[in-house]
Amino acid sequence: MTDPSGLTITEKILSRVSGGPPVRAGQEIQARPDFVLAYVFGGFVKFPRLIRETFGVERLTDPQRFALFLDHNIPVTDHRLEARMGEVRDWCAGQGVAIHDGEGIGHVAAAELGYATPGAFAVHFDGHVSQLGTYGTLAMGIHIGLYEAFARPAINLRVPSTVRIDLTGTLQPGVMARDILHALIARHGADVCNGAVLELGGPGADTLTLDDLQTITGLAMFTGAVTAIVEPTRRSLAYALPRARLDLSPVRSDPDARYARRLTCDLGEVRLSVAAPPSSANVHALCEVLGTPVQVGYLGSCASGRIEDLRAAARVLEGRAVKSGFTLNIVPSSRRIMIQAAEEGLIARLAAAGAFISSPTCSYCYGAVGALAAGQTAVSSGTLNIPGRMGSAEAKIYLANPAVVAATAIEGRLADPRPYL
């Protein structure tokens, strides 16, 4: 018998790309991704050879579906890696596959470059691609399952259920998007969305900037989610549709869609917070750890380094100085963001305060540069705080919002940004 209830955004998008009747959570399908995105990192530096020699794929069908991002280990510090990257550039040129070289951190650049097409289905090796969900794109990390997307026109997938979170209210001063994610984890557990899609909507979503929403959706994996998606709004469509690479209709959940769980989050109740070492699940109120001595700050990665983050840091640091002996690394997350930050004078203000500013790269996020020494403590608005993530396993990382990172740089200890705003 046909299920009379409505469909979620996820079910609608996966219905279209599986080419048959409407699909429901739990169904096993074969889905043809609209976009297959990848970065050139780790084993993926060898993937052109692998897909040819192992899977016998000489030429990709529909090469316009594929895109590569050179964002890790940029700038290259090893001549052998540069040679591998050259191999990838040549392969892309030969296949007619887009390669985005120096555009910035792939997940962020992908939104700017139109892969965040509302209603589209995109896959990547890496789960932080979920941030394209800000624009109504179903973007899933599928790990090495990505090879299936290179070798076959469609991938095998079980349609995920959805946890709907309705946002209400507005954030208090100094509180930022990262704190919303922390609040969800603290209240409902780091597995609140286990195996499901985190769907955001409600009036509160419209009070957040698109940057804020990219931060939340990009970190969805830390709620156990497969990915995240936001109901398209006039604002998100105004950004995404002119850039969109495909002509698709934006998709919304039906009012009677079936959710695995439905929660409400009042943004006015969200407090400043940190994820303390050793896990993103270890959330505490900022007031519990204020004063903890810190030597290094990092504002960047696909989890921050957006224009709103740079503005927040510049507001805090304007006319002030990074504490002597403290290293503050600030990395705009895309070339376009860097240009905008320069035009707004943010780069000058941050550099004048003593921040070390780099061109867009993923490398700081995993300690390939700016590595932490044993005994150091860092505050980071990046992705992870597991021991060893940014250098020595004997270093500690507190994850916090960019305003907290900036305030901490002034004081040399975990600090409340509100007195500086």
């Binding site: 074969q30 043809r32 790990h143 399952g145 299936e148 780091a190 195996g195 896990s279 992705t383 992870l384």
Partner: protein, 178 residues
């Protein structure tokens, strides 16, 4: 095709929620590329004797949301090298589970498993009945069935083997033609 019944000892119970498997090796060891070295380093900070104690066919037990964080491949590659046959957990972080299934490594979602076993108990995974039995103390816990694709991945020994062996279905071609 139903895989053969798994029977082995519980080599370790990661009973904390949201366990990040990178901790099995630590980041220093994860930068190693040599599989034998990785295997020797596994679990050093939990039990220095682990690599010597574990045997072919042993199993790991995980808590809720096992595999939380960034799911890097080396920790479980080390475990497979040591002979571990599967992970049975309360639940899995999805990206971790996808990666391990793609390596042909069974990830069995089994709510209630942590309370049903102790370290070194012998347990048996019955694929037909979807149950894990504790042969040492008795008792049985049901697990969630794999998807057809997960079954195929495990049977083929991973995604690469599956892609090499499985012809593209007519359905896939049909989707491609749209």
């Amino acid at each position: 095709m139903t895989p053969p019944t798994l029977r082995g000892r519980v080599a370790w119970i990661f009973d904390e929620a949201n366990f990040d498997v990178d901790r099995i090796l630590g980041f220093e060891a994860m930068r190693e590329h040599d599989a034998a070295t990785l295997a020797r380093c596994a679990m050093k900070s939990f039990d220095p004797g682990f690599a010597e104690a574990v045997r072919l066919g042993d199993l790991l037990i995980g808590g809720p949301n096992f595999g939380y964080g960034h799911p890097h491949g080396p920790p479980m590659a080390a475990m497979r090298r040591l002979g571990v046959a599967a992970v049975v957990a309360e639940s899995f972080a999805p990206l971790y589970a996808m990666g391990e299934f793609a390596s042909g490594f069974p990830q069995i979602t089994c709510p209630g498993i942590c309370r049903a076993v102790r370290r070194w108990d012998v347990i048996e995974v019955d694929w037909a009945c979807h149950s894990v039995s504790n042969l040492t103390r008795g008792g049985e816990v049901r697990f969630l069935p794999f998807s057809a694709h997960e079954r195929d991945l495990v049977a083929a020994g991973g995604l690469f083997n599956l892609l090499r062996s499985a012809p593209e279905s007519s359905r896939l071609s049909a989707i491609d033609d749209k």
